[in-house]
Symmetry: C2
Subunit: 389 residues, 2 copies
């Protein structure tokens, strides 16, 4: 198996956009291709991660049309869907097919266009990520899932709810603070504890600032072999670990506070990478809700189960802390155009390892990890990246 | 790269079903797993091909839920989407990841549930396979695309339309005749020339019997290495060629009578397989419309461009002819639950090579090919299979 490297990354500004899925995908793709010192014609395959093209633009089979917009009609271009982990699955499959020698240089694009839908329609569309027969009929949607997880976590570990809520607020405040240093983030405004507690209740105990927003955006990653990468760029980043796992519906999951799919996926990725959580310098985690970020700390092995909230209290996951998490602002404040989230996490880790993050730079970052979750803890992809020069 | 083999195939009866996507997928999967002499726990990865889960059941991220229904929650389970070629893309990606050593034994499932939608909604859903900005706004849907191709073909090669229509009728009659011998086909009734010409006009010159139906169905393929296959089954079928290509929107395609993506995809597959069209004994082609079958004869190299219709007149593509095409009844008469179509084509070719097709058996079939098309000639996958014992 060949060592895989990332030579270029791109992303649009996240937020509200007037652009189509293909336009956003192409913008991110061209940034990634240009940054790789390649031309579009060097790309041999395109893997597009998107959650719901057919709802957003009544479009299936988007890959070939995106390739055409890049001037490379004809290349293989399937779409990969796994709800919010669609984009990371696209990166994973693309990287496996480069590692194996099926392709030398491929492009993984993530894209989603959510603001075009009404709030009601978005609620229904996001609700498609829970089980449509066992969960949707109960009225359950994602804020409810993570509200349950929050109550369960507080109960299981005997944490007063007010103390846990203060931690959730701190996660939100940290991620907004980081996003304010990221020109591509949807929200560039810091928030205070007062803003947090004064915001509307969404699903008790989760308030507005516990929730990631509805977003539009595109992101892209150019993947090739480490040997080719050396000739293209001075700072290739190696993809050294790829993990993946799934779960069934919530009613079959024993404990929402321990995401089994994440633990399995992370283990696969760490084993492949030959590394451990202690060696990770920076992480991009799936904070669709603030509570989800704390669960991710634990699932990835940065802190023991039930200890993640204390890490927030200590500031361990802030930039400058023990293990900075979501320096880009995370899904919470950078935005969460679902299919685009995974490659955008890779974008941030690549930029961090290259030392190109300016005011939000994690000093000396050499190894980084991304964690993307689809559905009700139903699909996880873990990617581990390492300085390759 | 390791030689890949198919050890088990399964499919539901195509037609109208009261079952859910997951139920149909699981039914087909269990037939494939049981036929492989495996247990579900031997499956390491699941690749689900489906065009529009979110429209049909407001469900994204179906893979993990299907794995859970099979009792193997936790395995990686992304969905692959490429409109009508979704299922074949799932088989292609699954096979590439087995060839490379990423997985030893995986399952590709295709599934689609269309009859749950109203005719109007189905028209819109199927319309999502054309370009949503360049084609849909013109009112173009698939019958129109293939009606144009029919007129262009007649014009380009100077064929009187009545003569070409007689050929289209013969394709429909052949496929209904074959389907009548296939207990899993949606239509099991032969049709006559009179039935054909008396049927309603859909998009001139295409009439009702030129069109494949709206269908529900599931299909599944178990893929492993040739070495493992030897120990599992007495008749493994080797997957020796995998091809793929895409196109942009119709307005950028020069000649609808020559499907460039198919010619590219077929060339890749024949080269990988080290074989030629002349060596192929049986073919499953993408006859979403009767005209599409004739274009596929030519695109796959069985007949020269402009000669495919004469093959129909001579009966070359009937069972017993020079190159039997769609012995299962094809999309036209077996049914076309879009995502399920590709793995169902593989099902037929595997059964043909194993000699298990009873009254529709192609004598001595050793090499077979499948051809699946997504969108307006926008994505093609070609698979070549060979007797492996």
């Amino acid at each position: 198996m060949r060592q895989v490297a990332i030579v270029g990354v791109g992303m649009t500004k996240f937020g509200k956009s007037e652009k189509t899925l293909i336009e956003m995908g192409a913008e991110a793709a061209m940034e990634a291709i240009n940054g790789s010192n390649l031309k579009p014609k060097d790309i041999q395959g395109l893997f597009v991660g998107c959650g719901a093209t057919v709802v957003e633009e009544n479009q299936t089979i988007i890959g070939g049309f995106l390739a055409d917009d890049l001037g490379i009609a004809g290349i293989p271009a399937p779409r990969i869907e796994s709800a919010c982990s669609s984009g990371s699955w696209a990166v994973a499959i693309a990287s496996m097919l480069v590692a194996s020698g099926h392709f030398d240089t491929v492009l993984a694009v993530g894209v989603e266009r959510q603001t075009v839908l009404s709030t009601e329609f978005n609620t229904r569309m996001m609700g498609s990520g829970v089980h449509s027969f066992y969960e949707s009929p109960t009225g359950l949607s994602f804020p409810g899932v993570f509200a349950m997880a929050t109550h369960l976590y507080a109960h299981k570990y005997g944490i007063p709810l007010k103390r846990l809520k203060d931690c959730l607020a701190k996660v939100a405040i940290k991620n907004h603070k980081n996003a304010a240093k990221n020109p591509k983030a949807q929200f560039q405004k810091e928030i205070t504890m007062e803003n947090y507690y004064n915001s509307m209740m969404v699903a008790s105990p989760l308030q507005l600032y516990d929730c990631s927003p509805i977003s539009d955006g595109g992101s892209a990653v150019v993947i090739t072999t480490a040997d080719i990468a050396k000739k293209l760029v001075s700072k290739p980043v190696h993809l050294i670990g790829v993990g993946y796992s799934s779960s069934g519906s919530l009613c079959g999951q024993k404990d929402f506070t321990r995401v089994k799919a994440r633990e399995t996926s992370a283990k696969i990725a760490y084993n492949m990478a030959g590394t451990t959580p202690k060696e990770v310098d920076v992480a991009e985690l799936h904070d669709c809700f603030t509570m989800a970020e704390i669960l991710a700390y634990e699932g990835l092995g940065f802190f023991e189960p039930g200890e993640g909230y204390k890490a927030v209290e200590r500031g361990d996951t802030e930039i400058g802390g023990k293990i900075p998490c979501n320096p880009c602002g995370g899904l919470k404040a950078k935005g969460h155009p679902t299919g685009a989230t995974g490659p955008a996490q890779v974008y941030e880790i690549v930029k961090q390892i290259r030392g190109e993050c300016g005011p939000r730079q994690v000093d000396g970052a050499k190894i980084g990890i991304t964690d993307t979750m689809g559905g009700s803890f139903a699909a996880i992809v873990t990617l581990i990246l390492k300085k390759g020069w």
